[in-house]
Amino acid sequence: MILLDRVTKKYVRSEGTALDRISLHVEPKEFVIVIGQSGAGKTTLLRLLTREERPTSGKIIIGSIDYDKLKDKDIPLLRRKIGVVFQDFKLLPNKTVYENVAFALEIVGVSNREIRHTVPKVLNIVNLKGKEDRMPRQLSGGERQRVAIARAIVRQPRILIADEPTGNLDPKHAWDVIKVLEKINRYGTTVLLTTHNRDIVDKLKRRVVVIQGGKVTSDRASAGYKH
């Protein structure tokens, strides 16, 4: 369960309000699409959930974790429960594709054997077989994006946040990624997806939250929404 109650975020170094008293309630295992124009505040919303940013005011609760009571030392534990596909990928530049994905498992103390077993499987899912030993700088934009996706899903997190995960992908690859997200969602992961892609919004038939100028302006199931 994700709960935001009148959450406001003003960045120190910017004039306006990135998020303005946003309230949102996401059930466990739900699949929510967040859309909105560039600068609407989608990424900001996701950053608040990972505690990359702190809200200026308002309440955030994920599962049993009340963010107001969250201590710094527990932030890593929170982040390990959430898989994130960052809009700008945030791959580790000094690690290979394989190591980037393995890193997500290493930090939660997964055994080497399990890492050797899991990482190739996940890389296979995102069609990156054979590129394990490349450095991120040796990959195309779309390939990098898929590494980011592999890294986010490899831990089978309870919550998956995907910020524009199809931004650099052609329709075929984009759709492959969406299918992966749906599959993960079927296995019980809550998915928060932001996108500019109307086609995906229309075809997915899920709950769609529209943000405009930092406010939720619409929150409804798209036609034929099934939960």
């Binding site: 990972t50 505690r51 990359e52 940013e53 702190r54 200026t56 710094d72 932030i75 890593p76 534990l77 929170l78 982040r79 390990r80 959430i82 994130v84 960052f86 945030k90 791959l91 580790l92 530049p93 000094n94 890193f103 997500a104 290493e106 930090i107 939660v108 103390g109 055994s111 080497n112 890294r151």
Partner: protein
């Protein structure tokens, strides 16, 4: 336990891999560290050499107490024992009249006239207590003991004396060595501080270049130790390699200077002794350099990573 070992191994492994992947950065950092560690090593050896020069000067200086012929050997022994107890006294030598004469003859064997003269008079040389101070600054203290009323009575007038009464010269040397010693210690400390700052700055730059990595690892939920560990390992490798290189540089400098024979002494700096000192203390110096390199390296990386590991506050 097993999981901790795995984590430790992963940290070390990642540190080594990162070291090899960031060769350019590593070479730059190590170059700076080698130069600074070499300066520390040089100032250490120079300081030891100065100390040796001072010790040699000290060794050549002694105080002589000339005893009256009426002073019995037993009285002399008491005085010797009293002097030996002083921490300021390095060595005491007692020569009775015969021994003193022999020593006098040995010293002046080229001057037959003096020897004949001495022999005609019957032994004119007084029994002598020769006192070698452990430190030039303590001469006055030794003199104070010798000039107590009861001790003065045992000695001839004009005793005690510095070797041939070169008081002014000895005072000058004492003063010079004191200054030299202070300069040596201050130099080592100042260089050590400057070097630590330079090394810290270098590592800080290297980590600044990779601050994004730290931020990303943080966002993925990595713990502080797991992020910082590989950086610390990497800096420790810098420190280790730099220490070894600095030792090699000094070593080849000594080899080169021993080939050029005339360079056995550069003013106050006794190159021969410095070279001997380096050889004799090779492993201590190597260990010390490695310790300094690793300690400054790891401490710097711990401090330098700190700011990028912090969580956002409101």
């Amino acid at each position: 336990m097993e999981r901790r070992l795995i984590t430790l191994w992963r940290i070390i492994h990642t540190g080594i891999v990162n070291f090899m992947r960031n060769v350019t950065l590593a070479v730059a950092a190590i170059a700076v560290m080698v130069v600074t560690l070499t300066i520390i090593l040089f100032s250490l050896i120079t300081n030891a050499t100065f100390e040796n020069t001072i010790a040699q000067i000290t060794n050549k200086i002694s105080i002589s107490a000339y005893l009256e012929d009426t002073t019995t050997e037993a009285q002399a022994k008491v005085l010797v024992a009293q002097l030996k107890k002083q921490p300021s006294v390095h060595r005491v030598q007692y020569l009775n009249k015969d021994a003193a004469l022999k020593a006098y003859i040995a010293q002046n064997k080229n001057n037959q006239n003096l020897i004949t003269a001495a022999a005609t008079v019957g032994n004119p040389i007084p029994a002598t207590i020769q006192i070698y101070p452990s430190d030039l600054n303590e001469i006055q203290h030794i003199k104070d003991i010798l000039t107590t009323p009861e001790n003065t009575k045992l000695q001839t007038p004009g005793s005690p004396s510095y070797n041939g009464d070169r008081k002014q010269a000895i005072d000058n040397i004492t003063h010079a060595t004191n200054v030299l010693r202070k300069i040596g210690v201050v130099t080592v400390i100042v260089f050590a501080i400057i070097c630590a700052l330079i090394i810290f700055n270098t590592i800080q730059m290297a980590i600044f270049n990779r601050r994004d990595e730290i931020t990303i690892m943080r966002l993925l939920g990595a713990g502080t130790g797991y992020i910082r560990g590989p950086f610390v390992v990497e800096s420790a490798i810098y420190g280790l390699l730099s220490a070894v290189f600095s030792i090699l540089i000094i070593n080849s400098a000594f080899l080169a200077s021993s080939n050029a024979l005339q360079a056995s002494s550069l003013g106050l700096l006794d190159i021969n002794y410095a070279s001997q000192y380096f050889d004799a203390h090779f492993f201590q110096l190597l260990t010390l350099q490695i310790a300094i390199g690793i300690i400054i390296g790891t401490a710097s990386s711990v401090i330098a990573t700190h700011r990028y590991l912090k969580f956002k506050t409101k």
